[in-house]
């Protein structure tokens, strides 16, 4: 597998803000790659540098070997970007929008592919509707369609499901997964960690313009092993002090992190002996959210290059 996107030591400063502080990563062809981080971490700036909307102060970015600055025309033909903002041109219908976008990429007579995209995004009935008349979710679908008119080998989705209903979200992922199976590289930024966990094979986490974690999903999840026991008690007897010290209280429930199942019985026994009555009990496996919170709180180490994941 070749390298789809190579980002080397990219830096970008906006006034006093160091938006990107030496970001390096490589994304292989055919990957479904997730870019995560809190607001202001630099995800959109990084994607904008990749798309040529922002010019980096230092560093190099290549798309399938084409430099996004020096060889911008070739690089942009290889990229399809779905922007984060819900933008549209109010003068045109959906079909006109897609025909025009095809032309911008040097493609004429693209109606067969446009029809296929429209069908896959459930937009066929809206093809002749003016953009202004579409709902927010429909406009979002058109943005996805616009990014795909030139069949780009690398697709970048910048928070595509923000404010989108469940049905569309599932339809969208179904389509994007199909494109990924057909060989398109997909780069996704999202705030929905379950989405990233379900879709992405590999993840980079950004914090204050730096890559703080970079690894496969399974390795990342393995960084925070174990389970969480979540217990709700009846109001009669409070949790003893000694157990409180081991737990965190979330929404009136006590959560215990467990390294293994053998820790469950001693906990339950201690509660029983203290006279606590369990009202509800759940056992959950660590998920990407735990990893994300752990990494953002600094429990992981900064990943300086492609090969290092989150250090233990």
């Amino acid at each position: 597998m070749g390298v789809a996107v190579s980002i080397e030591q990219v830096e970008k400063r906006f006034g006093r803000l160091q938006a990107l502080d030496g970001v390096s990563l490589q994304i292989a062809e055919g990957e479904f790659f997730g870019l995560l981080g809190p607001n202001g971490a630099g995800k959109t700036t990084l994607i904008s540098c990749l798309a040529g909307l922002v010019r980096p102060d230092a560093g190099k970015i290549r798309v399938l070997g084409r430099d996004v600055v020096a060889d911008y025309r070739a690089a942009r033909r290889l990229l399809g970007v779905v922007p984060q903002e819900l933008v549209f041109d109010p003068f045109f219908s959906v079909r006109e929008t897609l025909r025009i976008q095809s032309g911008y990429f040097g493609i004429r007579n693209n109606d067969d592919w446009i029809d296929e995209i429209l069908a896959n995004l459930d937009l066929t009935s809206k093809a002749e509707t003016n953009m202004r008349r579409l709902s927010g979710g429909m406009k979002r679908r058109v943005l996805v369609a616009q990014a795909l008119v030139h069949k780009p080998p690398v697709i970048v989705l910048d928070e595509p499901t923000a404010g989108v209903d469940v049905e569309l979200r599932q339809g969208l992922w179904h389509f994007v997964q199909r494109l990924n199976r057909e060989g398109h590289t997909v780069i996704l930024t999202t705030h929905y960690l379950e989405e990233a966990e379900a879709l992405c094979g590999r993840i980079a986490m950004l914090k204050q313009g730096q890559v703080v974690a970079l690894d496969t999903m399974s390795n990342l999840l393995a960084q925070f092993p174990g389970h969480t026991l979540s217990v709700a008690l009846t109001a009669d007897v409070a949790l003893p002090e000694v157990l409180r010290a081991q737990a965190t209280e979330v929404d009136g429930r006590w959560q215990f992190r467990l390294a293994g199942f053998e820790e469950i019985e001693p906990l339950l026994r201690a509660m029983r002996e203290a006279g606590c009555v369990i009202d509800d009990m759940r056992l959950a496996q660590a998920d990407l959210e735990d990893v994300f919170v752990g990494v953002m709180q600094g429990k992981g180490q900064r990943a300086g290059n492609e090969n290092s994941g989150v250090a233990q």
């Binding site: 909307l53 025309r73 903002e85 041109d89 006109e96 032309g103 990429f105």
Partner: protein
């Protein structure tokens, strides 16, 4: 090439879809100017031997042409910047030269359409001659080109609609209204004649008018030189802005 043609097509479609506002309205404004001024002055005034209404028409045509060329590129850019839809033209592999040409040619086309409209409707009110059509054409093209490119600079620079309105009201309007549309600058005091000679729009209108009547305040060759120079300077400045990515690519 397909990239350029598509962007040009999109820019033309953009104003054509609201043609009532972008083409018909300025034609009506120019017609009102003609009706009012020629009603008041036509009987009393001749300029360079030409009846006032006839003298006024080429001025009104050129004024409408350049104002609409400016309005087209500037409003298209600022609208797409403010709504964010400018990303649709920034993401594709469109070079800055293609970008420049598409916006300027679209602005010229709107200017020429409005200018032609003004000429057709005002032509009923005064006898016009077309002594040197090649001058008419070249000044129309260059005038539209200059203001189209200038509109790009304004549209790129402005962050808000009121900044653009300031540009339009405090620069473009005075430059066009005080350029000899309504009078021969020979009727002005010496000082204001000198000031008018610093206004490139004066040369556009004077040269354009020469094409109709064969008379002008300055020789058409001099006007052509000034107008062509202005076109190259404004185009070079616009291309430099686009190349640097100023306020478009951060």
């Amino acid at each position: 090439m397909i990239e350029f043609r598509t962007l040009l097509y999109k820019e033309v479609l953009r104003f054509w879809k609201v043609g009532f506002q972008t083409v018909a309205a300025p034609v009506l404004s120019a017609l009102l100017y003609l009706l009012i001024f020629s009603h008041v002055l036509d009987a009393q005034v001749k300029v360079n031997g030409v009846p006032y209404a006839a003298f006024l028409i080429p001025g009104l045509v050129m004024m409408s042409l350049v104002q609409n060329a400016f309005a087209n590129s500037s409003s298209s850019l600022i609208q797409s910047k403010i709504t964010g839809s400018v990303v649709f033209v920034l993401l594709p592999p469109i070079s800055y030269v293609e970008f420049f040409l598409a916006y300027v040619v679209a602005a010229m086309l709107r200017g020429l359409m409005v200018g032609l409209g003004v000429l057709v409707v005002t032509g009923f009110f005064a006898p016009l001659t077309f002594i040197a059509p090649q001058w008419i054409l070249i000044f129309a093209l260059l005038g539209g080109g200059i203001l189209g490119a200038f509109g790009m600079i304004a549209g790129i620079w402005a962050d808000k609609f009121d900044q653009l309105a300031g540009f339009q009201n405090f620069l473009i309007m005075p430059l066009t209204m005080l350029s000899g549309v309504f009078y021969s600058i020979h009727s002005l005091p010496a000082f204001w004649q000198q000031v008018s000679h610093l206004n490139p729009v004066f040369y556009m209108i004077d040269g354009f008018r020469f094409g109709f009547f064969g008379v002008s305040d300055v020789a058409p060759e001099i006007s052509l030189m000034v107008v062509a120079m202005s076109f190259f300077v404004v185009s070079a400045a616009t291309l430099a802005l686009l190349r640097s990515g100023y306020k478009l690519r951060y």
